[in-house]
Point group: C2
Chain length 462, copies 2
C-alpha cells in the first residue's frame, strides 16, 4: 500500500545513492556455467583474463560469491554528476491508457551520454587508469556504449579506440562526432586495421558489420598492444554487476513509497540493463521472499533469448574470445539490415541466460519493431520523453501489460527500465514517420544456419 | 557562508517547485517602453494583440504591475514531468581550473526537448488549448524552441506549424525529424506558403533565412487563419516571465545552502533564458537589497546588446509585428552563415534591454565562437555534459571569471545558466574538431547598414 502521494519523479538524495554494487551470482544456488578457454575446454583463469581485461574487472568477472562490492570513492563522485537517476511515475501515460495499473520507469537518460551504459563505463575507465594502463579499446553498435565510454575515458584521462559497427557509423555520423568530441578515436568495423577485420572483409566485402565482428577487432588490438585492455559494455558478469545500481536505486526509491512491482520489464540486448534493473528484486525471488514477474523484451529480428540455443558460444564473430554458456543465435548471426535499433547482439548475458533457463526470469518476449515505434510515439506524446528504440521495446510491453490490466481491472504495479534517449536514432524515427519501416522475423531455417556453427567443446558440447 | 556540504546536484522537491511566475516589470520603477502599433505610433492595446496571441498571453504581455502570476495546475503537472531542474555545483570543473571560485550552474537540459524553452512552450500551448483555438504557428532557428513547442503542443493536443530557418532545417534534418515525430508540421523558411516569404525569396533568392523572416511567415499565417495564433519562444515579456521559474528555482536551491551568487551569467539571444535566470536576483537589486554582477553573453557575430542601438524596431524581417524598444541590430540583420549556434536574433528582450540601458544589468560581453567551443570542450571533459553552443557562451565567461578569481584569489560564487544540450549541434562541433571553424566580427559599417533601416516613429524616433 502507498502511504503517501507519489511525486512524478522520485529522486533519492546523493547520500542515499548505493555505495556498493550487488553481485547477483552470490545469491544464485545454481551458478552460471564458467567461461571456458576454447583451446583447452577448461574454465578460464584470472591469469588468462588479465591480458584482455584490466585486473579488477577480471577479478570481478570471476567472483561468483561476494554479494556486495564497494564502489570506489572516485566512481561515486563520477556517479554523483548524474545519479541518482529518477524513478518516474507515468501518471500521464496511465491516464491516456485508462489503465488501473500503476506504471513506473527508472529513467537512465538524463546523463549527457543519454543512456545507462555510463554506469559501467565509469568503473571500467577508472580501474584501467588506476592500474596504469595506456589505453582502452572497445566496440559500439548503436553508439550508446561508445559515447558513454568516451565520456568516462575523457574524465579519467585514458586514451580510447572505438570500433563502431559500419552500418551505425554511416547512419549516425553525429553519434561518431560526439565520441570524437570527447576525444576518442573511432574506426568503422570491419576495418583494415586488424587481421580479423581484413579476413571478414575478404570473405564478405559488402558486410555492414556486426557487434560480434567489432568485438573481435577491439579484442585483437587490446591483446596486441602494450598496456592496452579491452572493455565491453554489456553481456559480461562484471558489467551486469555495475548496472545493479539501476535496480538498487529503483528499489530504494519505490520502497520509500511502499511500492513493490508485480511486473518488471526490461529490454534485453546483451542483458546488462535488464540484469541491473532486476538485480535486487531477483535477489528477493532467489531468497524466496517475493515473486515478481520478470519480462525480458527483445526484437523479433534478433531473438537470442526467446528463440536462441542455451549453449557454449564465442562472444565475437572472429571466435577469439573465451566461450560463454548463454542463449545464442550463433556468433555469426547478423541481424537484417532493416533492423533499426540496438539490441543486435547474437548472445545474452550468461547470468540472464542462466536465470531464464532455470525459470527465475519468467518470460522472454519478442516484439516487432514497427509496434515498438508505435508504442514509442504514444509515450512521446504523453510522457514527453523521446526514447531510444531499445528502451521503446520495454515501453511496448509495459503498455501491453497496462492494457491487460485495463481489461481485467487489476491494479498491478509495473516497473520498466527506460534506458536512454533516442536523439541519435532519428533516422529510424523518420523511417517510421514516413511509413517505410518494416519488420523482419527470421525463419527457423535462418536460425538453424547460426546454430550449425556453434563450437564443439569436447566432453561438454559435441 | 555555506552551512552544510553542498551536493553535486541540488534538487528541490516537486512540492518546493514555484507555483507562481515572477513578473520582473512589477519591480522596475522605470518600466520598459510600451509596444507600439507601427501604423499609429500609439501603445498597442489588448484588442490589437488578440488576433496574434492567445488572450492570456496577450494579457500577460501588457501586465506591467502584477508581481506574481499563478501557474495553472495543468502546467504545474506538465512541469513536474521534468522540473525542478537541478542546480549543479561544478566541483570537477573548479578542480580542473584550480580556482578558489565556487561555480554553480542551473541545468535546463534534462528534459527531452533538451533546453529551457519548454518552460514557456507549456503555458503557451496550454492557454491556447484552453481558449479553444484550432492551432498555433511559430518559428525556430537552431531548433530548440520548435522542439519544445512540438512537445508541449503534442501533450496539450493542439496542431502546430513550425517555420524553421532554412539553413537550420538543412543542417539539422534530425532536429526537424524530432518535431515531426512529436506531430508538428515543419516548413523551411523563407517559403512559398506566405506572401512575406515569397517577397523575401524574390528579393534574395539565395537567402539562408533568418529568425526575423521565419517570424514574419509564422505571424502572417496565424493572423490569416481562423482560430490560429502565433507563439514566440523568446524576446517577449510574457516569455521572459514564464522563464522566471529558472531563476526562482535556482535561488530557492542556493538559499538552502546559504549561497548567494556574486556573479550571474547567462547567454542572451532573445533574452528569455537570461531574463528568467536573473529574475529573483534582479528583484533584489531593484529593491536595493543586493548587488550581484550580471553578465549577458552574446556572440560577437550577433552583438545586439553590446553593439546594437536602443531603439524602436520591428520584431521581424517582414516588418509586420508591433514595434518594440530594444537593443537591436536592425530587423534586416542576418548573421554570417559561418555562425554556428543559435543566439542569432537581431534584437533583445525589451525588459533586458531596459535593464541594461538603466545600468541594472551590468555588462554585455561578446565572445568569439571558436573560444566558446574551446570552453565547451573543457566543460565536456570535466562536467560530462555536452552543451548547446548557446549555453557554451555562458560557460566561456564563467570559466573566464573563475580564472580571474584564480589570479586574484577571490572566492567568488558564480552562477550561470546551462540552457541545454548540444546533441543536435554536432555539425558545429565537427567543424570545431576539424579546425575549420572561424570567427566573424561585423565591422561598424556592417552594423550601420542595419541601423539605417530602423523604422521612423513620428514624435518618438525620427
Amino acid at each position: 500500500m502507498t502511504s503517501k502521494e507519489v511525486p512524478y519523479k522520485i529522486y533519492l538524495t546523493e547520500n542515499e545513492m548505493p555505495r556498493q554494487w550487488y553481485n547477483l551470482r552470490a545469491d544464485m544456488k545454481e551458478k552460471p556455467d564458467p567461461m571456458l578457454n576454447p583451446a583447452t575446454g577448461k574454465p578460464i583463469t584470472f591469469e588468462e583474463l588479465r591480458p584482455i581485461f584490466c585486473d579488477e574487472c577480471a577479478a570481478q568477472e570471476l567472483d561468483h560469491t561476494t554479494p556486495y562490492i564497494d564502489i570506489p570513492a572516485e566512481i561515486v563522485n563520477f556517479y554523483r554528476m548524474y545519479r541518482p537517476s529518477p524513478v518516474v511515475r507515468a501518471y500521464c501515460l496511465e491516464q491516456a491508457l485508462g489503465t488501473p495499473a500503476k506504471i513506473y520507469y527508472k529513467y537512465e537518460g538524463t546523463n549527457t551520454s543519454g543512456s545507462h551504459k555510463l554506469n559501467s563505463a565509469a568503473p571500467q575507465a577508472y580501474y584501467a587508469k588506476q592500474q596504469g594502463l595506456k589505453g582502452l579499446t572497445t566496440e559500439t553498435g548503436a553508439g550508446q556504449w561508445g559515447t558513454a565510454l568516451s565520456m568516462a575515458a575523457a574524465y579519467f584521462d585514458i586514451p580510447l579506440q572505438v570500433y563502431m559497427v559500419k552500418v551505425s557509423a554511416e547512419q549516425k555520423p553525429h553519434r561518431k562526432a560526439v565520441m570524437e568530441t570527447f576525444g576518442a578515436s573511432v574506426i568503422s568495423s570491419p576495418s583494415q586495421t586488424t587481421a580479423v577485420g581484413r579476413k571478414i572483409l575478404e570473405e564478405n566485402p559488402g558486410t555492414t558489420g556486426s557487434l560480434g565482428c567489432a568485438i573481435s577487432e577491439a579484442v585483437e588490438v587490446a591483446a596486441g598492444t602494450e598496456g592496452y585492455r579491452y572493455v565491453l559494455g554489456s553481456v559480461l558478469d562484471h558489467v551486469v554487476m555495475h548496472q545493479s545500481i539501476i535496480g538498487l536505486e529503483a528499489k530504494a526509491a519505490l520502497d520509500k513509497y511502499g511500492e513493490y512491482p508485480d511486473v518488471i520489464i526490461g529490454c534485453a540486448g546483451g542483458g546488462s540493463n535488464l540484469g541491473g534493473l532486476i538485480a535486487p528484486y531477483m535477489r528477493d525471488k532467489l531468497q524466496g521472499k517475493a515473486s515478481p514477474h520478470f519480462i525480458a523484451v527483445e526484437p523479433m529480428s534478433c531473438p537470442s533469448l526467446s528463440r536462441g540455443k542455451y549453449a557454449y558460444d564465442f562472444g565475437d564473430t572472429g571466435c577469439i574470445t573465451p566461450l560463454m554458456r548463454m542463449y545464442t543465435l550463433g556468433a555469426h548471426f547478423i541481424p537484417s539490415p532493416n533492423h533499426a535499433g540496438g539490441l543486435r547482439y547474437h548472445g545474452m548475458s550468461p547470468i540472464i541466460s542462466k536465470l531464464y533457463h532455470d525459470g527465475f526470469l519468467d518470460e522472454a518476449r519478442g516484439v516487432e519493431q514497427t509496434k515498438v515505434f508505435d508504442a514509442a510515439k504514444v509515450f512521446i506524446k504523453h510522457e514527453g520523453i523521446l526514447p531510444a528504440p531499445e528502451s521503446a521495446h520495454a515501453i511496448k510491453v509495459a503498455i501491453d501489460e497496462a492494457l491487460k490490466c485495463k481489461e481485467t481491472g487489476e491494479e498491478k504495479t509495473i516497473l520498466f527500465g527506460l534506458t536512454g534517449t533516442g536523439f541519435f536514432d532519428m533516422t529510424a524515427y523518420m523511417k517510421h514517420n514516413s511509413g517505410e519501416m518494416s519488420d523482419y522475423i527470421p525463419t527457423d531455417a535462418d536460425l538453424e544456419k547460426g546454430f550449425s556453427k556453434l563450437p564443439k567443446v569436447p566432453g561438454i558440447q559435441e
